[in-house]
Subunit: 301 residues, 2 copies
Amino acid sequence: MDIRQIRYFVAVAEERNIGRAAKRLFISQPPLTRQIQQLEDELQVKLFERTAKGVELTSAGQLFLNESRNILSLIEQAQERTQRAGKGQLGRLDVAIFGSGILNTIPDILKRFKTAYPGVNIVLHQMSKAEQIEALRQKRISVGFNRLLAPLPDIDSTMILQDKLMVAVRDDHPLATKPLINLKELENEPIVVFPKGARPNFVDLVSRVFQEAGVTMNISQTVIDAVTGIALVSGGFGFCLIPSSASVLQLPGVKYIPLGGLPDNATVDLSCIYLKDDHSPLLSAFLAVVHEYKSQLNNQA
Amino acid sequence: MDIRQIRYFVAVAEERNIGRAAKRLFISQPPLTRQIQQLEDELQVKLFERTAKGVELTSAGQLFLNESRNILSLIEQAQERTQRAGKGQLGRLDVAIFGSGILNTIPDILKRFKTAYPGVNIVLHQMSKAEQIEALRQKRISVGFNRLLAPLPDIDSTMILQDKLMVAVRDDHPLATKPLINLKELENEPIVVFPKGARPNFVDLVSRVFQEAGVTMNISQTVIDAVTGIALVSGGFGFCLIPSSASVLQLPGVKYIPLGGLPDNATVDLSCIYLKDDHSPLLSAFLAVVHEYKSQLNNQA
DNA sequence: CCTGCTTGATACCTTTAAGGTATTGCCAAT
DNA sequence: ATTGGCAATACCTTAAAGGTATCAAGCAGG
């Protein structure tokens, strides 16, 4: 049995006349007659009663007509859905985000992607950097968002933005009134750092900045992420250096003040990472959205 | 797109290796490679990622695999169901019965057919003789049960049984004690006859019998069917001649007594009728059941 | 680092089967 | 009895599926 035969059968059933159906199918009458005969032979069922005016469906033929229509529509659907999946318009995309990374950039990107590709189901996973890399290699996720990535041979990354550093201060502290804080002013002050876990990390950037400025750093506490760090500032544990994008977070008694007098490379990147040899259309579509977001960000600045 | 290609695709997806799949399909590897390429070209979607160890499905391919399995199983089902319909094991059979014909013979036959062909949906219609013939010609029904048929050019019939005549009597009537009633004893007695409507009919048989025996008949009432006639006997309206198979009907105060001293042709047939050129497997199956029933009936007698 | 093995891809030929033209046979309406 | 419309048949042409031989690429073992 053949899809062509099914199509032919439906045409004949609808026209109730082989010659007319042949015209509709842009073939001549004899081959159509033969195809119908073949179909009947194969099924061992008479599908049509031949009359003087044409043909008419037997009861078995009537049943087969319904089934045939179902088959054809299922095939059509399958083609369309597969094509959409091939263009990345349909499917499931597993995305990893890091602890406090759910601030504004990532939700924005996800929102854009969701509106551009409404057929794609986005599944979020909270993962640390190391977990993301393992999950990428095992294909449990397709993209991860992260910061400060060491280059890896099998993993590519796209930088989305670079955050400058800011200082989280309690608003009753004397420095809280200044428009800009110099690193020197934080010498020996208690500093909360984050995150715990795999290096290189935001901690390393902060230490490097202190070191290069020749300022001694007094780490009062190491916590898991920016949110916890800022919470500790609010609790009076000292200062906390954060990437500027984390400053959207509002906590009672906490002010964010830009850090001045730093070298240009004193920034943290936000990047998304993915397997180098993942050529899935879903990933490409997602990266396209990321790039579009990035270029809009640059045009604003 | 082609069912063959879908089958090939599923095999390759399952084996994750074109060569192995080719072996499974009893073809050589190159044509299989080409068919997969063609399928990908047509869908404009890459279905497989070619690796060193074989091939692996892309996400679009994964989706298409699911759809393909659905399509194949639907096709299989369609073939099987159509074949069953072709053998008369599946479908719908519209059957007409006459007013009081729902006694024991017809339910028996229908019950047998139902157990032999459980996939067939029997739809009953109450129809007079004339209605049955019109409905047969319009193909609204496939079989009708009836009595005393005049032969028609386009309609065939099968006689199921021949009923002798019986008399329905009130049990307080003097004749009710006799084991056999002679027609002479009914002379001038009030007789209820049925049915109303198209001739030739059961009435005609009854009148003929009286006439041939030289007995004058006194029709007290003409009613629609046997059930009504017997009800009138119960109400004291007189006697009623009925086909013996109607004697299964029990009404208060009514006895059935055989009619004696009649010629052999004083019988009513129960027949089923159908279009001469209806060769549907459903009808053949039904008629086969009818014949089987008939021959069992004859063996008993 | 090279060699051999496995895998899919290509080139070219053979065979199967689908499509076309011409014609026949059948039934029905005139 | 005749004609018109329909499906079926016979015979040929063409397209496409399958086969054999061979190639190119990637990985494993020496």
